[in-house]
Amino acid sequence: MTPHFGLPEFGFLLRGLQWTMLLTLVAFVGGCTAGLAVALLRTCGHRGVEWITRIYIGLFQGTPLLLQLFVVYYGLALTGLKLDAFVAVAIGFTVNASAFLGEIWRGAIQAVPRGQTEAAMALGLHYSSRMRDIVLPQAIRISLPATIGYLVQLIKGTSLAAIVGFIELARAGQIVSNQTFQPLLVFGVVGAMYFILCWPLSWWGSRMEARLALASQR
């Protein structure tokens, strides 16, 4: 007998949602950390280093994420490094996020007026203080709408992890749908879960953007 969509099925979807959130969290935190390094290297003023960082960003922005996940999961397995599905997709998403966030923050760092850096240099502040105290606090503010926008993309993008057998929300929905033959209901619930996760972030992001636009008019 075909099971109907009930509490156990809903619970299964919730566990999928948990994995989606965990994967997003790991990829976002890891991506932020590595992305900050990418952004700083990309703007460091050393031509060779900036060039290498540019290639790094171009490589991950210019190839499909799916391909990158395959390389990490199957490719590394060929070299004898057999990774757990979660670890593999976490690595893949983190590296990919570092390239995108790095590029977003590169733009934000360069959007901070040159006069800010000049004033800091004239005051005798070193690179680390110029970045930490002056440029990054302003750049983060500038980049916040784009960063939140990327986070929303990332949440939805984690559904790609299903391809290497990782059961997150979208894959959980597919499994439940196959069991219950109630695709409209199941995917409706799955969609609602994504929406509840993403919509407040999108709303927050556009509010942030409006506030920034207002601040720059002043």
């Binding site: 006069g115 004033a119 004239a122 070193h126 105290d133 002056i134 302003q138």
Partner: protein, 248 residues
């Protein structure tokens, strides 16, 4: 009496790509001297003072500040920047920090003094530019004239030996020019060594020991303000003075 030489530029040449911004500039500034640099836009006057604290590198010649020769080493640049304060046309206050934090940051980070001492110094100089009661505000809450006075206080907090002013009143509404000039005059009267790029010829007359006229990256003429304004020697200088004094 031969006063101590604070800045010595010799044969300074600077290019932006193929464009030569400074041509063989020689300049000696002694302790306590007030110098006004004037000239048409693009004449290299801002570039000249920006070379003194190495915001711009030079390609030839030498710059010595307070006995420290400025070369490309981080150490030399550091030492020189500790001795040289700068005020910009566009203020360049840090918008995410209060007035007080703007003034405390560099002494804490670059001079490595304690927080409470930095605050004492900051409040002292904010008082001196008559803006002590605005210490907790953010720059955007102040008028242009107030912001520029904060910028002056911020530079003074590093207790520099020389102050560079890069068109400090050019971005201000006319009614705010005076408060900034008065602050600068007060500073001059206290004996601060100053190099000011400005078109305020009244300020030059009142304060300057020497007025230097630049055009096309060269120092064309220099002299005491009286002689400089009354009897300029070069045709280029006369033309310039005619133009700017006509509309003042």
């Amino acid at each position: 009496m031969q006063d101590q030489i604070l800045i010595e530029m010799k044969g300074v040449q600077k290019w932006y790509g193929g464009y030569q911004a400074l041509r063989n500039v020689d300049l000696i500034v002694r302790k306590g001297e007030k110098i006004v640099l004037c000239g048409p836009s693009g004449s290299g006057k801002s570039t000249l003072i920006r070379c003194i604290n190495r915001l711009e590198p030079i390609q030839q010649g030498s710059i010595v500040v307070n006995d420290h020769r400025l070369d490309d080493s981080i150490k030399a640049i550091d030492v020189v920047r500790q001795d040289v304060g700068m005020v910009f046309q566009s203020f360049n206050l840090f918008p995410h920090m209060t007035v007080l934090q703007n003034c405390m940051l560099a002494p804490i980070r670059a001079r490595r003094i304690g927080k409470s001492e930095a605050e004492t110094i900051a409040r002292k100089y904010l008082e001196r530019v008559r803006i002590g009661d605005q210490a907790e505000k953010y720059p955007a809450q102040l008028s242009g004239g107030q912001q520029q006075r904060v910028a002056i206080a911020r530079a003074l907090c590093m207790q520099p030996k020389v102050m560079l002013f890069d068109e400090p009143t050019s971005a201000l509404d006319p009614e705010m020019v005076k408060e900034v000039l008065d602050t600068m005059i007060g500073l001059a009267n206290d004996g601060m060594t100053m190099i000011c790029v400005t078109h305020e010829m009244g300020f030059a007359r009142q304060v300057a020991d020497r007025v230097i006229f630049m055009a096309e990256g060269q120092i064309i003429e220099e002299g005491a303000p009286d002689a400089f304004f009354r009897n300029p020697q070069q045709a280029r200088t006369r033309q310039f003075l005619g133009e700017i004094l006509a509309h003042h």
